[in-house]
Symmetry: C2
Subunit: 408 residues, 2 copies
Amino acid sequence: MYRELNTPARTIMTPGPVEAEPRVLRAMATPILGQFDPAFTEIMDRVMKMLRDLFQTNNKWAFPIDGTSRSGAEALLCSIIEPGDKVFIPIYGRFGYLLNEICERYGAEVHTIECEWGEVFDPEEVIKEMKRVNPKITAIVHGETSTGQMQPLEEIGKACREQDILFVVDAVASIGGTPVKVDEWYIDGIVGGTQKCLSVPSGMAPITYNERIEKVVQARKKVEKGIETEDDRQNLGNNPFIKSNYFDVSMLQDYWGPRRLNHHTEATSMIYALHEGLRIVLEEGLEERFARHKHHEQALMAGIEAMGLEIYGNLESKLPVVTCVTIPEGIDGESVRKMLLDEFTIEIASSFGPLQGKIWRIGTMGYSCRKENVLFALAGLEAVLIRHDAPIQVGRALQAALDVYNNN
Amino acid sequence: MYRELNTPARTIMTPGPVEAEPRVLRAMATPILGQFDPAFTEIMDRVMKMLRDLFQTNNKWAFPIDGTSRSGAEALLCSIIEPGDKVFIPIYGRFGYLLNEICERYGAEVHTIECEWGEVFDPEEVIKEMKRVNPKITAIVHGETSTGQMQPLEEIGKACREQDILFVVDAVASIGGTPVKVDEWYIDGIVGGTQKCLSVPSGMAPITYNERIEKVVQARKKVEKGIETEDDRQNLGNNPFIKSNYFDVSMLQDYWGPRRLNHHTEATSMIYALHEGLRIVLEEGLEERFARHKHHEQALMAGIEAMGLEIYGNLESKLPVVTCVTIPEGIDGESVRKMLLDEFTIEIASSFGPLQGKIWRIGTMGYSCRKENVLFALAGLEAVLIRHDAPIQVGRALQAALDVYNNN
């Protein structure tokens, strides 16, 4: 009557969610522990420690929001935005619009600049406009999966610190796949994604932030009725409280910190998954992992180009974990994607807004970023394009990819 | 260097998170599918169908919020509360304060009434006050885990419908363990919990709502930039948009509905868990499941009382899945809990606010609600209380529980 789960096998070569590490999937089958069981709070502490290593930061606060990636961006932003605050957002793809959307909803006065999709900003241009706007917060996407581009952040971060602007970064797509140096790049608050380069299922949004953000958050502190103490009532923040209860970082701190003040019931199995995923990433080594992602990207790109297809976007600012491919003139991109999935079990992605129907996006992220996956994706794409009468070079893609693999 | 997960075995007899069904844990190890893979959207559709059966409703909309239980309450409330809206909240425990807190944060004018903890309201009293206040929304907790009490809802729901008030219910603790009849009780919007009577890990918050709420939500519709179409721009809602992007039910509908408009990346493994958990609940049968919970509650209560301990709260309105026990005079409740965990691996709960140090709370929920768990919890509690020199009747608890089991 109620059918059991019976899922097909897939080779997932999208920019997420990607194939989860088998060890992560196994970790989720670990039996539940109570949220205040010392055995569980110790796991929470270890997750915090590993997140600091992942984000390359000495921040005190590093923990996941229990929600999908965008919940982490919303938690960070809504905890620091007070109505009327000026926020500056340079936009170079869809997820910049998402930051804009979140900030507007929480009452910020948002100033944006945009550059052509497929490009990133010259940091000097961003800094110049930021000086003019003089915002409280600058928010930007590090890796734009919608266009496959990656914005250099260090100079902008430095300028933010000099101007005393809070610098908030969306590293959902880049974390764990390419360098993200929170402290070195003067990032005040950042969110990463689990379902991309970490190869942990979607459903958690790791964030970290420094004392500059903590100060803003503490000034808005309001412990909820029913668990507040007399001390909490005496120490209410002077600034407007945070609109969301679920995303109130000042309360989340008290849950993740030594006070262990009850807020939500931590998502036990997802914490197990994140713990295992972080352990695997850190045991591989960040530098080794970034190099591996770069290596498979090179093989994929060589194959795509050998087929005679064009890589979309500026190659100098390309996000190493997503390769966007211009759909050849006259080819129905969705028909190609459907045939890839139906005949080959391979999933690649389309894109959003102005790029819909114009590009495919192929991810090489986390556990999906493997030699056999890259080779199979190239083989499948070539075969499907032949079936679609696309004018491609036949038989060259796999040879080009193998050349990259054999030279390393 | 980075230690692997190595968790101790536990017998979890709290009001959540409780032991997850082993079949649910196994289901989470299922490989990832892409969020728009037809094989995955079919699973999403089946989850919606099973949620309707669980909530005993014909509502079109029934889906989980990707967050812990309180995220579902916040999503429902923030999607219908516009600043200045009157909300009426009868409070009889901690989670009533949480509803209050969420509503206040989103700018509602909240009117509350309170009754003594350990009691529930006479529905007539609620209805009388509701007529005086004339709110847009009445929000109430169905099962208060903090006090182990359950509020009868049908009369209040009927009065809400007659007065054209939106009736929003928190059934986090009761869903799947005791009857919750959404349509029959005139409930307009409701949130359930996964980590309690469903025995699915924490991290999802199933909600359902009817066309009365859908109408309010549609009037506030605003599709985010980057994925909105010309049509969306022409059909902006006239009412203030919803503050939260993550919890915007008008966009979530378009993700869970046939349009499949990208919002978040659905939490794949948690959906597998929820799918399996719902399947198990519905195959057991709702009535059979409620009877099973009632049966184990009776055995537990018989054991507690035979020991000479007092059940806290009004027995007539007792929540069948949580049994609150008054801590005997002179006994350190936390010391008892610690010894139960350390020596017996058994976890029971304390409570919040005015009840801290006054009661223990013992859950009989979902997969944790089993004969051997009830017997072991009674045996452990008796032994630990003897060690604490508590004045209890020795050797009677298990006999009383066995009598209940053997008479059925």
